[in-house]
Amino acid sequence: MKEIHKSLPEKATLADMPELLDFLKGVFSANNPTHPRFEWLYPDMFLDEGKAGRHLVLRRGGKIVSSVGTYPLTLNTAGCKVTIAGVGQVATSQEMAGRGCMSQLLEASIARMEEEGVALSWLSGRHDRYGRFGWEFVFRGYNHSFIEKIGRTADDSFHVTQEKCTDAVMTDELFAMRGSNSYISDTMANYSVVMQRSEAELWVARPRGSSEPVAWTIVFPGAKKLAEYCGTVDGILHLVKVAAVRFGGASVFASPADKDLNERLRAESSGMTFGGHMLLVVSIKKTLEQYTPYINSRLPAGFGATLRMRLPGGRCEEASIGGGGPVVELDRKLMARLLFGPERATQVPGVGRDLASLDTVLPLPCSLPDLYHV
C-alpha cells in the first residue's frame, strides 16, 4: 500500500512556470513521446502571475509532483452569460501515482471553483477518471465534416485571405464580430495570444470587390478544423468549404444554440456526428441563475420545480425553476445529465414522469469553441 501524500495544494506563481512546464512535458511525454510542450499548445495560459495562479500544485521535497489547472471563462450562449471553468493540465509524476495526489488536487480545484462563484466546469478527459468527482458526459453539439468535393461547390461570391495567427492583427472590427455566435468573453490582448494556439491561422472572408469582412475563423491546420468562427452564416460556410479544399476535408463544430448555422452546415455537410464533453455542475444555483433567460423563454405557464443537488459530505444545494415546486433531488452526475442532456429530463433516473414539463425547458445548451479547449 502506498503512503498517501500529505502536503497541501498551493497556487503556482509565475516563477514556478518553467518548472511546471517541464513537469507537464515530462508526465505527458511518458504516454505520448511526441506530446508538444504546453506553452506551444496553450501560449495564453502561462503568461503572467494571474495565469500561473490558475494552477494548483503539490510538491514533495520542494519539487512539483502533481498539478491541476482551472481556467474560468464566460460563455455567451442563447442570450445567457455562463461562468464555466475548464480543467486541464492534470498530471501526477509516475512515482507519486496511486497516492491520492490527484484526488486531493481535484477536490481542492472544485472547492476553489465553488468559492469563485463558477456555475459549471468542463473537461475532455476520461469518464472513469473524472466521473467519481461529479463530471458527467453530456451533449455538446454537432460536428459537421466536409469532404473536398463538397468544398469545391463553393461559389466565388467571397474571397478569403489566410495568414498565420502569429503574424495576423486582430482588429476591433473583427473582434466585435464574435457576438454573432456562441462565444467566450475575452480581452483583445488575451485573444491575440489565444489565437496563436497550435500554429493556428486566421482566415477572413470578404465579398468580392469589398474590403469589409463578413466572416472569419481561426483554423487549426494540423487538425483540419475550424476552431472558432464568427460572422454571417454564408461567410462561415464559405470558409468551411475553402478549408475542405485546402486540407482535403475539414470539420467544424457548432453549438445547438447557433441554429441558422447548424441548419446550413447540416444541409451541405458530408457527415455529421454528435459531440459530447464532461461537465460538472459546480453550483446549481449559479447555473439556473445564469441560464434564466433561456429557461424563462421555455417555461410552461404555471410550471415550477425545485432542483436539489446532493454534494459530497452530506451537503446539498437547491435552486428553483419558475416559482419552485416538486423537489427533484439528484447527485452531481445526474444533475449534469438532467440539465444538459441529450436525454429527456424524465429519462434521467430520479426524475418523475409527472415532471414532463421539464422536457420543454431542458436540456440547456453548453458548448465551448474548440479554440478554448484545455
Binding site: D128, M272, P342
Partner: protein
C-alpha cells in the same frame, strides 16, 4: 441522361454469384482489400430466392451495373414493433457513375419499401449521398468503451465461456433471452448464420454452480466490439468486462431504452460516446401507428396534433397524434428530426414553438444492434 438507363429489376437466386462478384469489384476499387460480402454478411446472401430478391439491380447489355439491397426487419423497442428496412450494398459500376443509375435504384427501393408497409429505413452511409432522398442522421444511443483495466475489476460471480460462433449452438432458451433488451426479430435458423458474421464469437455467462446462462453476447474480436447481447444486466456487464480483458479493451453500443444496462455501463465505462444512425421515414402513418404504445404513454391529456409529411412530387401523407389537431407540415428529413431527435421537437425548423407538448412525446427511440447492420 436517365432516359437511356435500364429499369430496376429484382435479382434472382441465379444472379447471386454475379451480384457478389459485382459488389466485390465496386467496393474493392474504393477500398482495396475489402472483404467479400458473403463473408461480411453471410445471412444476407444465403442461397435462396427470397434473399436474392432483396436486391434491385440495373443491367446494361445483360450485366449488372448497379445494385441496392433492402433488408426488412422488425425492431422490438419500448413495447413497440417497428417495421424497419436496412439499406445496404449500394453500388454502381465506375463506368455508370454520374448517369443517374443510383437515383433510379434508390427511388425504386423507397417505393418498394412503401409498398411493403415499412415504417422507417436505416443505413450507415454518407449524409450528402443519401440525404437528398430523405435519410437524416439521428442519435440512436450510447457507445461505451471499457478498458482492459476496468475489465479486471469484474468479480467472480459468473463464469464466462467463449467459442467461435461457427462452432456455437444457439439453443431455443438462449434465443428467447433476446427479448430482455431491444432486439430485431429473427428466426433461429437465420440468426445462427447471422452470428457467424466477421468471425464472431459467442460469450456466455452463467452462475458458478449453474449451467443455465444468465446472459450471452456476440462479439466481433477484430472490431473489439460487442455486437449483440441479451440476458441479465449483471451478466452482460460481466461479459463486457471479460471481453475487455481478453480483447484488450472493448466497446458496446446500448439503446437508451435499455435503461438498467445503460446506467450500469455508464457507471463503469472508461469512455462514453454518442452513436448516430441515418434514418428515413418511409411512412409517417405506419411510424405513428407502430410507435403508438410509446406515444400514448407520453401523450399529455387532451393534446393532439396532425403530422403531415410532404413527399417528392408534391404529395403528402398525414398521421394523427392523439386525435389530431394543429398541422405540422415537414419534409422527410425534418420529420425524421422531429420524431427521432436528439433535438427537441420545438427546435426543428417548421415546428411551431407553441407545440411544447411535442417535447414530452418525442424523440422516439430507434436503434439497430451492430450485428444487424447491413
Amino acid at each position: 441522361m436517365m432516359d437511356n438507363l435500364p429499369h430496376p429489376e429484382m435479382a434472382h437466386r441465379g444472379d447471386l454469384p454475379e451480384l457478389l462478384d459485382f459488389l466485390h469489384r465496386v467496393f474493392s476499387e474504393r477500398t482495396p482489400g475489402h472483404a467479400r460480402f458473403e463473408d461480411i454478411s453471410p445471412d444476407l446472401f444465403r442461397d435462396s430466392e427470397e434473399k436474392a430478391g432483396r436486391f434491385l439491380v440495373l443491367r446494361d447489355e445483360g450485366r449488372i451495373v448497379a445494385a441496392a439491397g433492402s433488408h426488412p426487419s422488425t425492431l422490438n423497442i419500448a413495447g413497440c414493433k417497428i417495421s424497419a428496412i436496412g439499406l445496404g450494398q449500394v453500388a454502381t459500376a465506375p463506368e455508370m457513375t454520374g448517369r443517374g443509375g443510383m437515383t433510379r435504384l434508390l427511388n425504386a427501393t423507397i417505393a418498394r419499401m412503401k409498398e411493403e408497409g415499412a415504417a422507417v429505413s436505416w443505413l450507415g452511409g454518407r449524409r450528402d449521398r443519401y440525404g437528398r432522398f430523405g435519410w437524416e442522421y439521428i442519435l440512436s444511443g450510447y457507445n461505451y468503451s471499457i478498458s482492459e483495466k476496468i475489465g479486471h475489476s469484474a468479480d467472480d460471480s459468473f463464469l464466462v465461456s467463449q467459442e467461435k460462433c461457427e462452432d456455437a449452438v444457439i439453443t431455443e432458451d438462449m434465443f428467447a433471452m433476446r427479448a430482455s433488451c431491444v432486439y430485431v426479430s429473427d428466426s433461429l435458423e437465420n440468426y445462427s448464420v447471422r452470428i457467424t458474421r466477421k468471425a464472431g464469437e459467442l460469450f456466455m455467462a452463467h452462475g458458478r454452480n449453474s449451467s443455465s446462462p444468465v446472459a450471452w453476447a456476440v462479439a466481433s474480436p477484430a472490431e473489439k466490439r460487442i455486437v449483440e447481447y441479451s440476458g441479465a444486466v449483471e451478466g452482460i456487464v460481466k461479459i463486457v468486462k471479460t471481453a475487455a480483458v481478453r480483447l484488450g479493451g472493448v466497446s458496446a453500443f446500448v439503446s437508451p431504452v435499455d435503461k438498467g444496462l445503460n446506467e450500469r455501463l455508464r457507471a463503469e465505462s472508461s469512455g462514453v460516446g454518442f452513436a448516430g444512425q441515418m434514418l428515413l421515414v418511409v411512412s409517417i402513418r405506419k411510424t405513428v401507428e407502430q410507435y403508438a404504445p410509446y406515444i400514448e404513454a407520453r401523450l399529455p391529456k387532451g393534446f393532439g396534433v396532425t403530422l403531415r409529411m410532404s413527399l417528392p412530387g408534391g404529395g403528402f401523407e398525414e398521421a394523427d397524434i392523439g386525435s389530431g389537431g394543429a398541422v405540422v407540415e415537414l419534409d422527410r428529413k425534418s420529420m425524421v428530426r422531429l420524431l427521432f431527435g436528439p433535438e427537441r421537437a420545438t427546435d426543428i425548423p417548421g415546428v411551431n414553438p407553441s407545440l411544447v407538448q411535442l417535447d414530452t412525446i418525442f424523440p422516439l427511440p430507434f436503434c439497430i444492434q451492430p450485428l444487424f447492420s447491413v
